[in-house]
C-alpha cells in the first residue's frame, strides 16, 4: 500500500518560506520544501458509488482525501452504464466504497474490470462494501425468481435512509480507513466521533443526547425496542426539532411509496408501509393497476405518496386525482435535489417534507 501524507499545512509552510526567502539559502530551501510539499500534498483518492457514501466519507477524512462519487444523486442508481470517465476515476483510486446488496450490480463489475486497478478489486483491502453489519430488510424468504420483478436476493439495498445505518456506514468506512492509512488514525477517529455525535443529536435531539450522555445508548435501546419505555419512565422525550421528534406525532401513519426504496426510512420512524405504486419492483405501474390501488389505499387511510424525483409523476397524479392523496417528491440521495448537499441535510429535508405533508 502506498503511503500518503496529506499535509494541509505544507503549502502554508511553503508560502511562508517564500515570503521570508530573501537570500539564496532560503531560496534553495524553498524549492526543496516546494518539492516535498508537492509529494506530501497528494491526497488519498477515494471513489464511492453513491453521493451519500461520498458525503459520509468526506466528513470522516476532511482534507485528507479527495472523494468522488460516480453517481450524481440525480439518477436511478440501478439504471447506470459504465463510462470511460468512470474507468479513469477508478484507475486512480486508492479506495472504492460501495453500497452493496447488488445496488451497483448493473455497472460496478464493468468499471472495476476496465480500471485495471488491483487495489480496488472485490476482495482487495481497498474495496469496501459498507453493507457489512447492516440488518437487511426485504430478504426474500422463498426462492423467488425474477417473475417477482427486480428483487435483490440479499435484501433491499436502500438502507442508507435509516440513520442507524448511516452510523454503521461511517463506522465501517472509518475502520477501513484506519487499517489502510494508519498514519491518520487519530483524524479518522476524531471525525467519526464528531459524525456520530452530530447524527445522534439530529436523530434524538441535543437535549436528550446530553441528558443520557451517550447517543450510543439511545441507539442500543432503539434496536432493543426499549427506547419508548425508557423515555416514559424517566420523563424524557426526543426534541421536537430532531428527526425522531419531528416524525413522532405520525407514528403508524400509512405511507405509500412508488418503489420499495423508502422501506428502511419508514421502518425506522415507525410508519406503516401501505404499499407501492409499482406492481413489482422495477416494473412501471399500469393505469389498471393504479385504479386497483385506490380502494386499498382508501381503506388503509393513505394520505401521502412518497417518491424519488427521477420517477414519472403520472402514476402518483392519477391516484391523487382519484383520492386526494398528497404527493411528496423528495430526493433520497445526497445532491438528488435542492437542500440536500450532505447526508444530514438530505435526511433533514426528507423528514421535514414528509412531516409537513402529514401535518397538513
Amino acid at each position: 500500500m502506498q503511503s500518503h501524507h496529506g499535509a494541509p499545512y505544507s503549502p502554508c509552510l511553503t508560502f511562508y518560506i517564500m515570503y521570508k526567502g530573501k537570500n539564496m539559502k532560503n531560496t534553495i530551501l524553498f524549492f526543496i520544501l516546494l518539492a516535498v510539499s508537492c509529494i506530501h500534498a497528494a491526497p488519498i483518492r477515494i471513489l464511492t458509488t453513491t453521493t451519500d457514501l461520498k458525503s459520509i466519507t468526506q466528513m470522516l477524512t476532511g482534507d485528507l482525501a479527495e472523494v468522488t462519487s460516480l453517481t450524481t444523486g440525480k439518477e436511478d442508481p440501478h439504471d447506470l452504464t459504465s463510462r470511460p470517465s468512470f474507468v479513469v476515476k477508478a484507475r486512480q483510486a486508492d479506495m472504492w466504497i460501495r453500497i452493496g446488496l447488488e445496488l451497483e450490480i448493473g455497472w460496478e463489475s464493468a468499471v472495476l474490470r476496465d480500471s485495471r486497478n488491483r487495489r480496488i478489486q472485490v476482495g482487495a483491502p481497498g474495496h469496501l462494501d459498507v453493507s457489512q453489519g447492516i440488518e437487511p430488510l426485504d430478504v426474500p424468504t422463498s426462492n423467488t425468481g425474477r417473475e417477482a420483478g427486480d428483487v435483490h436476493p440479499h435484501g433491499n439495498p436502500h438502507y442508507w435512509l435509516d440513520p442507524l445505518n448511516g452510523r454503521i456506514i461511517a463506522h465501517n468506512i472509518a475502520t477501513r480507513l484506519m487499517t489502510l492509512f494508519p498514519e491518520h488514525k487519530e483524524t479518522f477517529a476524531t471525525n467519526l466521533i464528531l459524525f456520530e455525535k452530530k447524527l445522534d443529536e439530529r436523530m434524538f435531539g441535543k437535549n436528550l443526547v446530553a441528558k443520557v450522555e451517550s447517543g450510543e445508548k439511545l441507539w442500543l435501546m432503539t434496536i432493543r425496542g426499549e427506547l419508548d419505555k425508557y423515555l416514559q419512565n424517566n420523563n424524557l422525550k426526543a426534541d421536537d426539532d430532531c428527526w425522531l421528534g419531528r416524525l413522532a406525532p405520525f407514528r403508524n401513519a400509512p405511507v405509500a411509496t412508488y418503489n420499495r426504496s423508502w422501506l428502511y426510512f419508514l421502518h425506522r420512524f415507525n410508519f406503516q408501509l401501505a404499499g407501492e405504486l409499482e406492481p413489482k419492483p422495477g416494473i412501471p405501474p399500469s393505469a389498471k393497476h393504479l385504479l386497483s390501488l385506490v380502494d386499498t389505499f382508501k381503506q388503509k387511510g393513505v394520505r401521502v405518496i412518497l417518491q424519488e424525483p427521477f420517477y414519472s409523476l403520472k402514476a402518483a397524479q392519477l391516484l391523487s386525482s382519484r383520492m386526494g392523496v398528497k404527493i411528496v417528491v423528495c430526493p433520497n440521495c445526497v445532491n438528488g435535489g435542492d437542500d440536500c448537499e450532505d447526508y444530514f441535510k438530505m435526511m433533514d429535508n426528507l423528514v421535514v417534507k414528509l412531516g409537513d405533508a402529514l401535518a397538513k
Binding site: S82, R83, R91, E102, G106, G133, S312
Partner: protein, 492 residues
C-alpha cells in the same frame, strides 16, 4: 540556518492554528475550546482502542476484546452526575457488538455462485422481406464487394446466416465467465445458430494482475477495433450488424484466435491503446487457402491496432472516439470455367468510430440519447497467381445511427448506412472502373419490459447496386430477445 528553520516552523504553525481556528475573542471561549478538545481527546482515545480491537479481531489476533475496550469510556462517564439509569444490558454492551449479534453475517453477503456466472440469450424473430432472393445472398453480389466481378455468380462457398421469411431462431447464446485465480479471468460464449451449427463466439483468458495498466488476453477474441465489433449481438441497438461490417468481415465481425495487448494510459482522460495478432481466419478479410500454387503465409497473418479516446464531459454527457487499423494476408480460390483461380494479396483497413451519449436521468432511461457512427476504408491488393494479374479495390462504408428513449423502457431509433461511397476497382480486363454505392436505411422501436426481456420492431429499406441491376427490398423484423442467468454489467 537551524534557527531560521525553527522560527519558520513556529511562525507557520501559529499562522496555521489561527487560520484554522479563527480568532477566539475571549479567554472564556479559549477555555471552552480547550475543555471540548480534552473531552474529544478522551473520547477518541477510547474509540481508537475499540476500533483497533475490531481490526485485530478481524485479523484474527485478539489482543484486546471489544468489550474491554468499550468499557473504558462508559466507566469514565459513569463517575459524573445524574444520568437517568439505562437498562443494565444497554449499559454493558456496545452498539456495534449488539448489531453483530443481530446480524448473522458481519460481512458483505456473498453471491451463491460467485465463482461462475452463467448466462443465456434467446433471440428469435419473425422476419419478412420482399426481395426475390435471400438478402444475405444479394449482399454477396454488391458490385465491387465480395466476389471479383469476373467470377460473378459462381462459388457460394460462404455459409450465410440470413433470416428467412417466417419464424427464425436467430441466435441462442450460452455464456460462462469467472475469475480463475488471482491472475486470470476467463469467459466463453457459445452461439447456436439456425439450429444446425455451434460456434465459439469467444473464448478468452485475460490477465487481471499486470502492472502499469496493461491487460493481455488470449484465445478467440472479438477484436477491439471499431465500436460494434466488440459487442455481442444482443447488445446491438438494431437487429442486424451494419452493412460495412458485413461487407468487410462478414455478419460476425472480426473474431480471431490470437492475442491482444491493451494499455490504459495514465492520462486525466480516457486513453486506451490496443494491438492484436490473429491467425487470420476471416473469410472476407484474411482467408487462407490450401492450394499448391498459393504461398504458405505462416500464422499469424492478421495484425490490428486501435486507440480509444474519451474526454470527460461531466455527468450528463459522454463521448468516445476510436481510430482503427487492420492489415492481413488474404487468399481466395474460386472456380471459374472448370479452372481454379488463386488470388493472393493483402488487405488494409482504416477506420474511425464515434459515440456520444446523453443521460437525462429520467425514469428507466427516459430522455436518453445515443448517437453513433463508424467509417471504414479498405484497400485490397490481390494478385491472380495463375497469370500474375493485379486486382486492386479501394472501398469504404459507414453508418450513422441515433436512438432516443421516448418513454420509460421505450426507445426509438434510426440508422443510415452507405457502402461503396468510394468503390474503385482495377483489374486487367476492364482497367479502372467505379461502381455505384449501396445503401440501407432502418427504423427501430424497442421495448425493454424488464432488464431481461426485450421486444423490438425494425423496418428497413435496402437498395443494393449489383452487376445486373439495383436490387431494392423492404424488410420487417419483429424480434423477441430474453436473457437468463446472471445480471449483465452494462459496458459503455
Amino acid at each position: 540556518m537551524n534557527k531560521a528553520l525553527v522560527l519558520c516552523l513556529l511562525g507557520t504553525s501559529m499562522f496555521c492554528c489561527v487560520f484554522a481556528q479563527g480568532t477566539p475573542n475571549t479567554a472564556k471561549e479559549i477555555d471552552e475550546l480547550k475543555a471540548q478538545m480534552q473531552e474529544m481527546r478522551k473520547l477518541y482515545d477510547a474509540r481508537i482502542a475499540q476500533m483497533q480491537a475490531e481490526i485485530d479481531e478481524l485479523k484474527g489476533k485478539k489482543t484486546m476484546t471489544a468489550e474491554t475496550a468499550i468499557m473504558a469510556p462508559v466507566a469514565d462517564n459513569q463517575t459524573s452526575s445524574n444520568v437517568p439509569p439505562v437498562p443494565a444490558v444497554v449499559e454493558k454492551s456496545d452498539l456495534y457488538t449488539q448489531l453483530k449479534g443481530k446480524v448473522e453475517q458481519w460481512a458483505a453477503p456473498v453471491s451463491k455462485n460467485a465463482n461462475l456466472d452463467i448466462s443465456a440469450i434467446i433471440d428469435m424473430n419473425y422476419h419478412h422481406d420482399n426481395a426475390h432472393e435471400e438478402l444475405s445472398h444479394i449482399r454477396e453480389e454488391i458490385s465491387g464487394f465480395g466476389h471479383h466481378h469476373e467470377e460473378g455468380e459462381e462459388g457460394h462457398h460462404h455459409h450465410h446466416h440470413g433470416d428467412k421469411n417466417g419464424f427464425n431462431l436467430h441466435h441462442i447464446e450460452l455464456g460462462l465467465s469467472a475469475e480463475v485465480d488471482p491472475y486470470f479471468r476467463a469467459w466463453t460464449t457459445l452461439a447456436f445458430e439456425d439450429e444446425e451449427s455451434v460456434e465459439i463466439e469467444e473464448a478468452v483468458i485475460q490477465t487481471t494482475n499486470l502492472p502499469y495498466g496493461l491487460t493481455l488476453s488470449g484465445g478467440k477474441i472479438m477484436s477491439g477495433i471499431g465500436r460494434i465489433n466488440r459487442q455481442h449481438s444482443h447488445n446491438w441497438d438494431f437487429a442486424d450488424i451494419p452493412l460495412v461490417y458485413d461487407a468487410f468481415f462478414g455478419d460476425h465481425g472480426l473474431r480471431e484466435k490470437g492475442v491482444q495487448l491493451t494499455w490504459l494510459a495514465p492520462t486525466p482522460f480516457y486513453l486506451l491503446f490496443g494491438t492484436e495478432l490473429g491467425n487470420g481466419d476471416n473469410e472476407k478479410f484474411s482467408n487462407h487457402v490450401d492450394g499448391d500454387v498459393l504461398p504458405d503465409h505462416d500464422d499469424p497473418r492478421l495484425f490490428t491496432s486501435f486507440i480509444k479516446i474519451a474526454p470527460d464531459l461531466g455527468d450528463k454527457h459522454a463521448m468516445q472516439f476510436g481510430l482503427n487499423f487492420v492489415t492481413a494476408h488474404h487468399q481466395i480460390a474460386e472456380e471459374h470455367d472448370e479452372h481454379e483461380h488463386y488470388f493472393d494479396g493483402r488487405n488494409y483497413l482504416y477506420g474511425i468510430d464515434w459515440v456520444y451519449k446523453y443521460s437525462a436521468n429520467g425514469s428507466h432511461g427516459m430522455g436518453d440519447i445515443t448517437l453513433q457512427g463508424e467509417y471504414f476504408y479498405r484497400d485490397s491488393r490481390m494478385k491472380l497467381l495463375n497469370n500474375g494479374h493485379h486486382y486492386e479495390n479501394k472501398q469504404d462504408g459507414y453508418y450513422l445511427q441515433a436512438l432516443y428513449d421516448i418513454a420509460p423502457r421505450w426507445r426509438i431509433g434510426a440508422r443510415w448506412e452507405q457502402l461503396g461511397l468510394v468503390n474503385e476497382c482495377e483489374d486487367p480486363h476492364e482497367g479502372s472502373w467505379s461502381a455505384p454505392s449501396s445503401y440501407r436505411v432502418a427504423g427501430v422501436a424497442d421495448w425493454k419490459l424488464s432488464e431481461y426481456s426485450m421486444l423490438r420492431f425494425q423496418v428497413a429499406r435496402h437498395s443494393y447496386s449489383t452487376e445486373e441491376e439495383r436490387e431494392k427490398a423492404w424488410e420487417f423484423t419483429f424480434q423477441l430477445q430474453i436473457s437468463l442467468g446472471s445480471h449483465p454489467a452494462h459496458d459503455f
